[in-house]
């Protein structure tokens, strides 16, 4: 069964139809890249999956369970919404680290707040805290940032900040990790370190959706790719095939502008 199924998802901002009946699905362990020009709706799609925007129509299913249904008559409670949210993780274009916390605290915070709601938190406080610290430290080490754990975001480079943000998203073990143009805000010489981290996540079969403008990266790292234009999925297929041999004229035009077609 697909881990994620998006059915007929639509969203409009005023008169603009940003998403028009989007259908797509994702298997566990699969990396999907979404490409398309600015304004094609790819970021909005990610934001809808992460409940930052409310779609006007359509459904989202995770492991067969409905997590969003526009036809649902009443809004879910805050508690229910939080549980559904935790299926997804999101890495933002602009990192959005919390500036008043160190790298380690950024990674640990959400897990700590969730742990505090556990009925056994008081008794097991020490063990839980040690566990959270170790997990956060492990993730930062994985990102090559072990020596930066005590640094505040403003003391880190953009590439380092984005890697902390990736560790923070991974800390809650989401089923599906989403990347919204993770390298667009970075200086060119810093994109490599972030792309390397995402590549190694793909090698570990992390289920991911990556919105990106890095065509070579989208082709090499993702299993499948989607090309979006004007709020529609124009073309979908294995990443390498779609980017090297697009079938649709619009995909071809888009990719040739990026110099991705030889």
């Amino acid at each position: 069964m697909a881990i994620l199924e998006v059915q007929e998802l639509s969203k409009r901002f005023g008169d603009v139809e940003v998403l028009r009946k989007i259908n797509c699905s994702l298997e566990a362990g699969e990396a999907l890249s979404i490409i398309g020009s600015s304004g094609s709706g790819k970021t909005t799609l990610l934001r809808c999956l992460n409940f930052l925007e409310t779609p006007d129509a359509g459904r989202v299913l995770v492991r067969g369970e409905t997590v969003f249904d526009a036809a649902e008559p009443k809004k879910p409670s805050e508690a229910a919404l939080r549980r559904r949210r935790l299926h997804f993780g999101l890495v933002f274009q602009s990192f959005n680290l919390f500036p008043q916390y160190t790298a380690l605290e950024n990674v640990r915070l959400a897990g700590l707040l969730l742990a505090k709601e556990r009925p056994d938190f008081r008794e097991k406080r020490k063990e839980i805290l040690t566990e959270l610290n170790e997990r956060a430290m492990f993730l930062l080490t994985d990102m090559g940032l072990a020596d930066r754990a005590g640094h505040y975001p403003h003391q880190l480079s953009g590439g380092q900040q984005q890697r902390v943000a990736i560790a923070r998203a991974l800390a809650l073990e989401p089923d599906i990790l989403c990347f919204d143009e993770p390298t667009s805000a970075l200086d060119p010489e810093l994109t490599g370190e972030v792309l390397r981290v995402i590549r190694s996540l793909a090698e570990q079969r992390t289920t991911m959706i990556i919105v990106t403008h890095e065509m070579a990266f989208a082709r090499d790292v993702a299993d499948r790719a989607i090309f979006m234009d004007g709020g529609r999925v124009v073309e979908e297929g294995p990443a390498r095939e779609l980017i090297d041999h697009p079938q649709e004229e619009r995909t071809r035009q888009f990719l040739s502008r990026y110099g991705a077609l030889s």
């Binding site: 933002f92 602009s94 959005n96 919390f98 500036p99 008043q100 915070l109 707040l113 403003h154 923070r168």
Partner: protein, 223 residues
């Protein structure tokens, strides 16, 4: 003579401090509530709040003091304020709290709206509740942003307390001025009035040091 004057000025300064302290204690929480009112998505409440803030910020505090102290007595049969100094303190405190809450609310609003939207969104996707996002993520950034304008406003409040003299609240300036008009057996004494400046200077100097320290303690992160 010196002992008499200093004694009277100390008395006045104590009253100034009382008004100052009570205003801060009341205006900060009330200002926060008003700032939420001025940002609410419920339009009638937002307009009402912003109109009230406009009126309070757009008229002199001295006029507000006079209105709050005298007008209720004109409308009702007798003044609702307790007799004497207690009534004057109460009326002053209410006028000051309301006035300063409106100024604070605008500063708070700027502080809250100044926190980038991405901070809240990052908290949301990490499964935080609204109150966790406010207290764990936004509040510290907001405090850091508003420290300079709030410090400024609080220093202004130190000196604004002297406006309560208009309804004869016996604060520091009034205590000094009384020696000119005649009190404690002296009249025509000008220097006690001038000397009150020393109290204001020392007190605002102390506050400035305190605020600088607080700002420095928030220097460990950048927003």
């Amino acid at each position: 003579m010196l002992a008499t004057v200093l004694g009277a000025l100390n008395q006045g300064f104590l009253k100034t401090l009382q008004l100052f302290g009570v205003t801060l204690l009341g205006a900060i929480p009330l200002g926060l509530i008003i700032s939420f009112g001025s940002m609410t998505r419920f339009r009638p409440l937002r307009w009402l709040t912003r109109t009230v803030v406009w009126i309070v910020r757009g008229t002199p505090l001295m006029l507000q003091l006079i209105i709050i102290y005298y007008v209720p007595g004109q409308i009702m049969d007798s003044s609702p304020w307790p007799m004497g100094e207690n009534g004057r303190f109460l009326a002053s405190a209410i006028a000051f709290i309301f006035n300063y809450a409106c100024y604070f609310s605008e500063i708070f609003r700027g502080g809250i709206e100044g926190v980038p939207r991405g901070q809240r969104e990052a908290g949301q996707v990490l499964g935080m509740t609204r109150s966790q996002i406010f207290f764990r993520v936004e509040l510290m950034q907001m405090v850091k942003r508003i420290m300079p304008p709030i410090s400024n406003e609080i220093i202004t409040l130190v000196k604004d307390t002297s406006l309560a003299r208009i309804i004869a609240y016996e604060e520091l300036i009034k205590a000094g001025y009384d020696f000119l008009k005649g009190s404690h057996g002296y009249s025509g004494l000008l220097w006690p009035l001038f000397f009150t400046g020393v109290y204001y200077l020392l007190f605002s100097g102390l506050l400035t040091i305190l605020f600088n320290r607080t700002e420095r303690r928030l220097d460990y992160f950048k927003v």
